[in-house]
Amino acid sequence: MLIKRSSAHAVPLASEITPQAVYEERRQFIAKMALGAVAGSALWEMANREAFAQAAPGAKLAAKRNPAYSPAETLTPIKDATTYNNYYEFGTDKSDPAENAHTLKTRPWTVSIEGEVKKPMTLDIDSLMKLAPLEERVYRLRCVEGWSMVIPWVGYSLSNLIKKVEPTGNAKYIEFTTLADKAQMPGIRSRVLEWPYVEGLRMDEAMHPLALLTVGMYGQVLPNQNGAPVRMVLPWKYGFKSAKSIVKIRFLKDQPRTAWNVSAPSEYGFYSNVNPDVDHPRWSQASERRIGEDGFFQKKRKTLMFNGYPEVASLYAGMDLKKFF
């Protein structure tokens, strides 16, 4: 296992990171060059220079790094984190969201908070972003497909919002609903999943400080393909549990019907905690490949229980995690 443990220089400052548009430009250029198949290294360097000459920065989003969530791991390059995405509302290929999500309108945007709460409310995105101080946290992201990334997110603990709306004693679960608008999301036409995309947590999971209500990454507002303008990030669960582009949060008595669990209950459980000992029926979950880092010449790295966040283990004390996968 190769984990780079080095100085703070390994983790670039938000301001040092190349804007995503620049990288997108670069990727398109690469694809075109590849048609010419065997381009020499001189041409390759030229391509780089050309792409970097046209900077188009995304909107900055200042936030202080929370030192408690600043692991000594190399950040995934922003170009990978913003061009290799699962966001089926914009298509099922990894490159589809980056290509198609420009049609998503993130302003105006409101999130309605309903159900078992004393103070239901509808918040617009700006007041939601001001509800608690934003902080930057570097989390590992483990996809159920067997790959992982390390991403600096910007947001605050979901518990801040939950406390504000004052759940009733009946609130046992929380449900997140993603926007489902055919006009903005070409993938909605496919029947891969039931729309809208719905995800959920048990109340104690939602209150855990790790559960991050997220509005930015890499020191910028969230790119559309990463779930703008507001999404969840739950680093101890497989990526699909973290709902993107949230329009509704409901507090419920009963466990919500979640998208992948409805689609294939034997393959995707409600909890879907990262667990190297519980295989997906089609593949092993014991190991993973870190995007942008792990290459051809080493074994896959071992996946850690709860993705290396043991602080959540007490939430599941006494539960059979093979049964509640």
Binding site: A31, A34, D80, L193, F296, K300
Partner: protein, 209 residues
């Protein structure tokens, strides 16, 4: 539609086909070397798998096309297309052994036994080996046409197994439009053969009566 290339034209056609069939491979290597794939190992696995299926389908399409268009010379290109199917299948298998198991044969074998979609893909690959080995004139002479043909009819089993492998893999994510399309095409290519063989039998019976 009667097009009959001269020997010289045929040579050119064959060379063009050889280069065309190599393009997906060259493109994949170029994109990998340039760092254009965020997950090159997954991209290589998927690309080689896709092109194995494409070439299997093209191989199966040769005989129906030849009969429909009366382009008998097409059959002389079939060996190359079939060998390309094996070439991409071999790369696909190597990617699995290398990237998923880092050449740990025991771990690979466990995976083959444990997961039905891999079992099926592995069987399809193993069945392709005798076809590739006997795809030369010396082996045809050695085996005799009848026995050689019997071996090569394994393709009727290999192609559906390959599609089942693809279908099972994709169904994990409910994303089955493409495997269904492959299935329909291969079913049609096999059905036309059944129809011809039934028609031939009926004709023979009529002649015998």
């Amino acid at each position: 539609m009667a097009f009959n290339p001269t020997p010289k034209q045929f040579k050119v056609l064959k060379a063009v086909l050889f280069v065309l069939a190599l393009i997906p491979f060259v493109r994949m290597v170029a994109l990998t070397v340039m760092g254009a794939y965020p997950d090159p190992l997954a991209a290589i696995t998927f690309t080689t798998g896709d092109w194995t299926l494409y070439f299997l389908v093209i191989t199966l399409a040769v005989t129906p096309l030849r009969r429909l268009l009366k382009w008998n010379w097409l059959v002389r290109l079939r060996r190359m297309v079939g060998l390309y199917a094996f070439f991409y299948a071999f790369l696909h298998f190597t990617a699995f052994l290398w990237f998923d198991h880092f050449f740990d044969l025991v771990a690979m074998w466990k995976d083959v036994l444990k997961r039905p979609f891999i079992t099926v893909g592995f069987i399809a690959f193993v069945l392709l080996i005798p076809l590739a080995v006997t795809s030369n004139n010396a082996m045809i002479r050695k085996l005799g046409g009848k026995r050689w043909q019997w071996i090569h009819r394994l393709i009727y089993l290999i192609a559906p197994l390959g599609i089942l492998h693809y279908y099972w893999m994709k169904s994990a994510k409910n994303n089955i439009a493409q495997p269904i399309l492959f299935g329909v095409i291969v079913a049609a290519l096999l059905a036309v053969r059944l129809y011809w063989s039934a028609a031939k039998k009926a004709k023979a019976q009529a002649a015998g009566a």
